[in-house]
Symmetry: C2
Subunit: 230 residues, 2 copies
DNA sequence: ACAAAAGTGTTGAGAGTACACCCATGC
DNA sequence: GCATGGGTGTACTCTCAACACTTTTGT
């Protein structure tokens, strides 16, 4: 029958959470990486993560890691996938539950203890060599982010509380890696009802001041997908 | 910095895989449940699962559980979600990686050891009380299955190798819980190119014999979703 | 010939896509 | 007044959704 095997303590895997933290920096989609110190991967970059504590849920663990690294608490986070190949960590069996998070760059607290040599924001389109299977994890997170952008409204979570339509469009263009038509973008996003005008305009910058918008969190964030079958 | 906490052996969670096994039985979408024996949930129904062995991947563990219960080896399986609330198992900390599988009912080996009192196929639309958080897991699996049906081609995985379009349409109707238009269904699925005619016809049953089709596994299984943004 | 299931086309509505010019502001 | 980015409408195409009758077989 099933599940007669009960693993002895020594054979229990460790469980970690790792978090792919996305942010938009200098017109680029970047992820936060930390430099590893005390293991076979010492000196290599990795996505932040750590062991799950005995009395916290997986999501709480991910949020804790996220706050430790960025100081941010109210963010979009989502479980991505669980990676558990027996030899993904050469030291021992480690199963990691990967999350991804979307953080507005202006909300991040760059803490005094931060050392540029220890943490850094790297373009997802040009990553350094990463420890473990973290390259695979980041690539999977990017695929999922792109996919989610196409049928839900998560794009806003990378922007400040208020933003212009051009800024939003630019965020989509960066992530999707393609240019979008301005008129179609504006019509579609405004008709979806997920934004509301703030009544204010953006004063900085050149040219005509742009209307500032805000995300309506009472809006229905999903859109019907095109079905393969009728 | 991050991840200074290293859990002592005794605090390491156990890791299991649980598999929601779907099949179509008697014009109903059902899941395989097993009766638990030796724990606080003894006598209750649960989805099959067990501990991850030291040298197998998570997917291998899920496939092993699946084969132990059904005898089937070549099936559609997909990681669903990882459930890890600290108190989801009252005895100890257990983190479970849930999978869901689609199995054609005619491929299942009902093994001689099977006792109807110990395993059974239950309608997902009318489940008995389930152990742990397994109700939540099954419901999440159904949501995911419905969602996948709409933009990919997994429906075939619940049918025999060859099948008629009416059988396929019926499978979709059962899972989605709604009637579909025959002409639109046939047009769309045939134009998508994921099926090929076998040239044979189904002889059994009343009425005009139907053409038998086969899934083309070289076909592109996904379809473009309707984007929220242009 | 009749019961039972298989198979087949058309039309109207709505959404997607492509495309170019005027507007408001700061310097 | 000019440079800069903001903001706007229309026409064509394609996909979706609704809808009813003929064909093939077994009895």
């Amino acid at each position: 029958m099933s599940g007669n095997y009960i693993p002895p303590l020594a054979e229990r895997p460790s469980v970690t959470v790792d978090v792919v933290i996305f942010s938009l920096v200098e017109e680029d989609l970047r992820v936060l990486l930390v430099r590893r110190k005390y293991d076979p991967f010492a000196g290599m970059w990795a996505i932040p993560g750590g062991f799950v504590h005995p009395n916290e849920s997986l999501e709480q663990a991910a949020l804790r890691e996220l706050e430790e690294e960025t100081g941010v608490t109210d963010v979009y986070i989502e479980q991505l996938y669980t990676f558990g190949d027996p030899d993904r960590d050469p030291r021992m069996r480690v199963i990691t539950v990967a999350y991804f998070a979307l953080v507005p760059y202006d909300a991040i607290q760059h803490r005094p203890g931060d050392d540029a040599a220890e943490t850094g924001w790297f373009s997802v389109f040009n990553l350094p060599p990463l420890a473990f299977d973290h390259k695979e994890i980041v690539e999977y997170a990017l695929t999922r982010l792109r996919y989610k952008l196409e049928y839900s409204a998560v794009g806003f979570r990378l922007l400040p509380d208020v933003f212009t339509l051009s800024e939003l469009q630019q965020a989509y263009e960066i992530i999707l890696g393609e240019k979008l038509d301005k008129r179609n973008f504006r019509r579609k996003i405004l008709s979806s009802g997920i934004l509301e005008e703030t009544g204010k305009r953006k004063k900085e910058g050149e040219g005509r001041p742009a209307m500032l918008y805000r995300y309506r969190d009472d809006a229905i964030a999903e859109v019907k997908t095109r079905r393969l079958f009728p």
